[in-house]
């Protein structure tokens, strides 16, 4: 699992590569801790290279969202595969997150 931070004009795009599960979730959270401590106002998480997410991974994304909301930050998820998207639909997390089909739409919708 790897997280690549890609600063844009007025937001940050984070590309996650690999599986977000019980083993990698602490690393994902740590990667976002610095952005959150800097009160980054807008983050897009590009999930196009995420092949698997378990309940720990979902909980980690919820945790990042909660932390961002605590200072008024906003986060969007983009480029989910149909398999990952189905988990958000089943768990109703689609109601909690702002989700875009692609990165460009996620950026322009802020």
């Amino acid at each position: 699992m790897a997280v690549r931070i890609d600063p844009k004009k007025d937001l940050i795009v984070c590309h996650i590569d690999g599986e977000i599960d019980i083993n990698s979730s602490p690393m994902v959270k740590k990667s976002f801790d610095k952005l959150i401590s800097q009160k980054t106002p807008k983050i897009v998480i590009n999930l196009s290279k995420v092949t698997y997410v378990d309940s720990s991974g979902l909980a980690t994304l919820v945790e990042i969202l909660k932390n961002m909301r605590s200072y008024g930050g906003r986060m969007r998820l983009a480029c989910m595969s149909p398999k990952i998207k189905s988990l958000f639909e089943i768990t109703k997390l689609e109601k909690l997150f702002e989700i875009s089909a692609d990165e460009e739409t996620a950026i322009s919708n802020f």
Binding site: D21, I22, N23, S55, K83, I90, L96
Partner: protein, 133 residues
């Protein structure tokens, strides 16, 4: 496929190993990517629950994984050595007031993605069923 029983120690490393073993044995059944994804997820969630909530991460306690295929149906049993758990007490994670909570989603996904999932009375053994072809 005849029934296989595998015993794991309560170590997080066995979570991925458990799904890998099952999917490896299912290779010649030609299951689709979506079904494989759902089996992987449910097995890993169940083994994780058995280790953390059942065996309280005690490395001396074991988790038994049993699985077999009968008539195109995959049967999986996951049993821990814990005192048992009341799975009915798990809050519905899809309710508005629980969406921000960090618990209950693993159990919920198992019940939604498997064709059948039920615990024994004690609450330390989960039996799951999934149609694979």
């Amino acid at each position: 496929m005849k029934k296989k029983d595998i015993i794991f120690q309560s170590d997080s490393g066995c979570i991925r190993e458990s799904s890998f073993r099952i999917l490896k044995d299912l290779e010649h059944y030609g299951i689709g990517e979506k079904t494989a994804f759902e089996i992987k997820l449910c097995v890993e969630e169940a083994v994780r629950n058995a280790i953390i909530h059942g065996n309280k991460s005690d490395p001396k306690r074991q988790v038994r994984l049993g699985y077999w295929v009968d008539g195109g149906i995959l049967n999986i049993e996951i049993e821990d050595e814990g005192a048992g758990f009341n799975h009915e007490s798990v809050k519905d994670p899809t309710k508005e007031e629980n969406l921000l909570r960090n618990s209950g989603r693993g159990d919920y996904l198992i019940k939604k993605l498997m064709d059948k999932a039920e615990y024994n009375t004690k609450g330390n053994k989960l039996s799951m069923v999934k149609k694979i072809n």
